[in-house]
């Protein structure tokens, strides 16, 4: 039961079309299977069932080739639409090619070149990764402005190096700090591959060696929670902000208890439901956001009507209750 | 000696870490002769040959071949210059055909890129025909008997038009017919002025074919002489540095109760209808040609091989031996014929190798002190030659490895000891020692089964002899205690070739 009041609105849309008697098949191709994507999958499966579709999920295990294969196989198998969470956002064109004229919805990670969405049958539903890190940065900037501090040193826990989410989240937080007039320098940048245990192991030597830092910035909640563990193990009182992204259940709990200062809610259920709705709308030839609460992209680009943004939402102690 | 030497090796020194295997030895070989190299196990014979053909470069020394000083970096260079070798330890590539093994590393080519399979096969056939070898180029190497694999090695060695052929114990896996065959090949090579360096521990062979004999002892050169100037006693004295007594110190001891009874035993097609009994104090010999199925019988009794029919009784009670573990529980020991394959633990030291079948006796936690004491005791009894008990067994010479294995089974103190080719590749001195130990064990009331492809050995030691032919028992012969020739060897050979069969009706 996650989902804030404002974010689970996809449900409204699905309720309208329940019992419409449609029957079809949708394949969901996930880049890998983790907590976030599993939640997304569950929401999408439920929404699809309500719309009369049978949704099958596939795990591409971080192999962009396999992803293309899944799409082609889905096409060969006569699926009605395919939802893809791309392994490599730069390889979106080849996925579009593989899908041919089958409706295709990218979810969660946007294609690097958004012009692939120009095709009739292609859409994107997701959250803007440029903003996730930015929210972290804005929060931190505010925090230090309040303290009257303009120079900070941070420890950065990175995801899998080279992945788009890692790159954008790191860039976003740095940019936000800069934009808000905070001079931030890294103490150390550690690649803990989104893993809690690796985060503990990597950050512990830094903590015990007594290096000075002002905050810990993490690319996701799991690593942030690892940092919390490591601090507790090392007997360090957490009087500095630790920030994460995802707002997993554990992450939200940690924000509530004050162990983490903030996280950024990325709405897996909204993305899952939105993707299924976009599929249904593509098949029916309607506007892709029909029946959802989400807006289309407003930049007025040629592909704007093919994008649904499910916003990131900063979560702090003040509003964490909405996300639990 | 005024003849030109085709090969001269001078002052060869070879050092291994902790061991000086060769301490400045020499060897001079005349063309068109058989030059035999003799010495106890570990004297350095194989090592010298490996130095010669470039497998292990000598630490120092000079090699003059065909008038030029040479130093081969690898076997290929040696082969290309005209020296080939049949190695002591067989080394076939089991998963390939005879043909491919024959042309290993020098497969005939159709063009610079492609192999010529047709030509390879044809040349193999021609070669086999020329040397009258009963080999099929298309057979998988792993399906051949050891003897046939050895014949492939021989074919390989003679197929190079070499000037010197080294044969390191070529007959240890051959039957008499094949040995005769090899000797005719050697004669042929001699007539073509090829020199043969021959290494063997079998005295009768040596005196039949040698022209010159060189003796080493402990990595040192003892001397060289014409074969006709030597006899067995002189030679043994040169090798061992002392006289060796009776080769077959058979002592007649009282034969006791039946301890082992085998009834109608079979294992697949390897052998069938094998029945015999074995008494305490008895040495039961198994004779037959290589491939007669003797090894399979004892492997089946010992539980290595699956029994498909028949019963085994020990002390009158039927036993079901499914693994060597069971066999050892029933106080049976087996010294296997394949020392490297299923005997030694190359990476472990002598102590561990000695106690390995006996670990149960060292308690929990294991008593290492007692292990070492036992190992020292039994290896002393076997006169194993080793720098220390911590030496890895793979660094010992073959004969010394064999002694460690004998020590292993003696330590176990089995009631029934089965020895399969116990003296294969062992020097005369050690051979006599092993024989006397076997005799002593029989005297203590143990029962012994002894397999040997050397008829004199079985004849010399056995109380009774079972002769096998192609997986069937042909006859059981009793020792004639009065005669000088306890078994009639003509008779034995008739059984062994299947020309005579006392059990024809049993089939």
């Amino acid at each position: 039961g996650c989902g804030s009041s404002g974010s689970s609105s996809g449900g409204n849309g699905s309720a309208e079309s329940t019992g419409s008697g449609e029957s079809g098949k949708i394949t969901l191709v996930m880049a890998q299977r983790d907590e976030f994507l599993s939640t997304l999958e569950a929401a999408a499966t439920k929404a699809a069932a309500e719309k009369g579709y049978k949704l099958t999920a596939q795990d591409a295990q971080s192999d962009s080739q396999k992803q293309i294969q899944f799409v082609e196989t889905a096409k060969n198998g006569g699926e009605d639409a395919v939802i893809v969470n791309p392994v490599d956002s730069d390889a979106a064109q080849s996925i579009v090619d593989a899908a041919g004229d089958m409706p295709l919805v990218f979810v969660n990670r946007p294609p690097t070149d958004l012009h692939v969405l120009d095709a009739e049958n292609v859409a994107f539903v997701g959250s803007d990764e440029d903003t996730s890190g930015y929210f972290q940065g804005e929060y931190l900037a505010q925090y230090y402005k309040d303290k009257g501090q303009t120079e900070i040193k941070y420890i950065l826990l990175q995801g899998i190096l080279g992945q788009v989410s890692q790159i954008k989240r790191c860039a976003g937080v740095v940019k936000a700090l800069e934009d808000n007039g905070i001079k931030a320098t890294p103490v150390v940048e550690l690649a803990a591959e989104y893993d809690r245990a690796k985060a503990i192991d990597k950050i512990s030597p830094v903590l015990t060696s007594g290096q000075e830092f002002d905050c810990i910035i993490s690319n996701n909640d799991a690593m942030a929670l690892g940092a919390v563990e490591a601090c507790e193990n090392a007997g360090i009182t957490i009087d500095f902000p630790i920030v994460g992204i995802d707002c997993t259940k554990d992450g939200a709990a940690a924000v509530e208890s004050g162990k983490m200062a903030m996280t950024v809610f990325q709405n897996p259920e909204g993305q899952g439901i939105g993707a299924v709705m976009a599929c249904a709308n593509l098949i029916a030839g309607k506007a892709i956001n029909e029946g959802t609460d989400y807006d289309l992209d407003s930049n007025g680009e040629s592909y704007s009507d093919s994008i649904i943004w499910v916003p990131f939402e900063p979560v702090t102690k003040d509003n964490v209750a909405d996300y639990m | 000696m005024s003849e030109e030497y085709i090969l001269e090796m001078q002052d060869i020194v070879k050092e291994f870490p902790g061991v000086r295997a060769l301490k400045g030895v020499q060897l001079k070989v005349r063309p068109g002769t058989v030059h035999t190299l003799m010495g106890e196990n570990g004297a350095g014979k194989s090592t010298l040959m490996k130095c010669l053909i470039g497998i292990q470069p000598p630490t120092s020394g000079k090699i003059i071949f065909d008038g030029k000083e040479v130093e081969f970096k690898n076997p290929l260079q040696a082969m290309n210059s005209g020296i080939t070798m049949i190695h002591q330890e067989l080394s076939p590539v089991p998963e390939r055909t005879v043909c491919e093994n024959l042309w290993l590393g020098r497969f005939p080519m159709k063009n610079p890129l492609m192999c010529d399979h047709k030509k390879a096969r044809q040349e193999a056939l021609d070669l086999f025909q020329k040397w009258k070898l009963d080999l099929n180029p298309d057979d998988m190497m792993k399906d051949l008997t050891v003897a046939k694999q050895q014949m492939v090695e021989i074919a390989k060695a003679v197929s190079y038009d070499a000037k010197v052929v080294v044969m390191d114990e070529p007959t240890s896996a051959l039957t008499e017919t094949e040995v005769e065959h090899l000797f005719s090949i050697i004669a042929d090579l001699k007539s073509k002025n090829v020199a043969i360096i021959y290494i063997s521990h079998k005295m009768d062979e040596i005196f039949r074919i040698s022209d010159d004999i060189t003796v080493f002892r402990d990595g040192e050169y003892v001397g060289t002489d014409r074969a006709e100037n030597l006899d067995v006693d002189k030679l043994v004295t040169m090798m061992v540095g002392r006289q060796v007594g009776n080769m077959f110190p058979k002592v007649d001891c009282p034969i006791g109760d039946v301890i082992l009874e085998v009834k109608d035993l079979a294992s697949g097609r390897a052998f069938e209808h094998v029945s015999f009994d074995l008494h305490r104090g008895e040495i039961l010999g198994f004779a037959g040609l290589v491939g007669a199925g003797r090894t399979e019988i004892v492997e089946t009794i010992f539980g290595i091989r699956q029994r498909t029919a028949g019963q085994i009784f020990i002390n009158g009670e039927e036993v079901h031996i499914k693994s060597p573990e069971d066999a050892i529980k029933n106080k049976i020991g087996l010294l296997t014929e394949d020392r490297r394959g299923n005997g030694i633990f190359g990476l472990l030291d002598i102590t561990e190798n000695t106690v390995m079948a006996n670990l149960k006796n060292y308690g929990f936690p294991q008593n290492h002190k007692k292990m070492k004491e036992d190992a020292i005791k039994w290896n002393k009894a076997m006169r194993t030659k080793t720098p220390s008990m911590e030496q890895k067994i793979m660094n010992l010479s073959g004969g010394n490895q064999q002694k460690v294995l004998v020590a292993r089974w003696l330590l176990l103190d089995p009631d029934i000891l089965i020895v399969d080719e116990p003296t294969r590749g062992i020097d005369v001195g050690a051979k006599a020692e092993i024989h006397s130990i076997i005799t002593k064990l029989a005297g203590e009331g143990k029962a012994i089964i002894m397999i040997s492809s050397e008829l004199p050995e079985v004849s010399g030691m056995a109380d009774r002899m079972i002769v096998m032919y192609e997986g069937h028992m042909m006859g059981i012969l009793n020792r004639n205690r009065e005669s000088d020739t306890p078994f009639d060897s003509d008779e034995v050979m008739k059984y062994a070739h299947g020309e005579k069969n006392d059990f024809a009706t049993a089939k």
Binding site: D97, G162 | P75, V93, Q306
Partner: protein, 328 residues
């Protein structure tokens, strides 16, 4: 002992070709369950998606044959992918790594050269220092992955069409990458059965002492083996970039080595060295391909797919072992 029968040996034929029968059975079952399986379109998909791993398998099977292993190909492919792709970026690419632009074929060759160089280093280590291939190639796996990420922290995309055509250009509806795979397969087969190099590797894998004693230059041949595996991995990497239109240093080729090793082993290549048949390797590649493809068509849950895949790999090898079954 009995003389072996002459003529056609049915049992031997069966056991030598067991995987092909497994393949046929799988294909029939799948076609019954999902007629979409046995269509030209789906077969094209199957071959196309197995081609790149197939190329890697054609290299890795040599290492296994030589009694070694190669854990590097996935990472080598990633490194080759980013580097070769970086020379094939369109001039107006969003995130161009550098401004050097080379003809497509040269980019592909660069990928192969990268693989070859790494292969030579690994082979040298294996041959001359006697370090176990498992460790040498584990090292190359770690190092190449890191090098790929250092070379470019983000995916290298916006690649030339001429470069991409090496993978996706279609002849008679079949993408180029399939033809390249077949070419590599044939070269591998040719080397293994027709050239002295192949015979040498069989000998080295079967009994390296025997090979050495027979005058085979074991070291040189081992270096060549790992070089070949490297070349295949490098080519696979370049084609991977060409096929997906992007070279991603962090995910390209992840775990490909395991799929390749599994395919080779399912195809009867023995991990104890000295046994390999290219026809078997092909059957292994296809069995894994059919499983991957078929289970997707059946809509199986992917966790279940992994379990079935694991069971089939193990099961196939167990079945295959029975023909080499050691006597008791």
């Amino acid at each position: 002992m009995e003389a072996t029968k002459k003529g056609f040996d049915f049992k031997k034929f069966m056991s030598n070709n067991a995987m092909w029968f497994v393949l046929i059975v799988l294909a029939v079952l799948l076609t019954i369950a999902r007629p979409a399986f046995l269509t030209v379109a789906n077969m094209t998909t199957l071959f196309t998606s197995e081609s790149i791993k197939g190329i890697i398998t054609c290299g890795v099977c040599w290492c296994i044959l030589s009694k070694g292993i190669d854990l590097g190909p996935g990472s080598v492919a990633a490194l080759a992918a980013v580097i070769s792709a970086s020379f094939a970026q369109q001039s107006d690419a969003l995130n161009r790594l550098h401004s050097i632009h080379l003809p497509a074929i040269v980019c592909i060759i660069i990928g192969m050269i990268i693989g070859a160089v790494i292969g030579i280093i690994v082979g040298w280590l294996v041959a001359y220092t006697h370090i176990h291939p498992f460790i040498a190639t584990l090292g190359s796996q770690l190092i190449c992955r890191a090098l790929a990420k250092m070379y470019s922290s983000a995916p290298v995309s916006n690649l030339d069409q001429s470069f991409r055509n090496f993978a996706i250009y279609k002849i008679a509806g079949i993408p180029m990458v399939v033809f390249i795979f077949l070419l590599i397969f044939i070269i591998s087969w040719f080397m293994m059965t027709q050239c002295r190099f192949g015979k040498n590797i069989f000998a080295i894998g079967g009994n390296d002492q025997a090979a050495r004693v027979a005058g085979i230059n074991v070291e040189k041949n081992l270096v060549l083996t790992y070089m070949w595996s490297g070349i295949c991995a490098g080519l696979a990497g370049a084609l991977l970039a060409a096929r997906t239109g992007s070279a991603d240093p962090s995910t390209n080729g992840l775990q490909y080595e395991f799929d390749a090793i599994a395919a080779a082993t399912v195809g009867g290549t023995s991990q104890t060295g000295g046994v390999c048949r290219m026809s078997g390797v092909l059957s292994g590649i296809l069995v894994l391909g059919v499983i991957n493809n078929g289970l997707v068509l059946l809509g199986a849950n992917d966790n279940l797919t992994q379990i079935i895949k694991g069971l089939i790999i193990v099961g196939a090898v167990v079945v295959d072992m029975r023909k080499n079954a050691k006597k008791p």
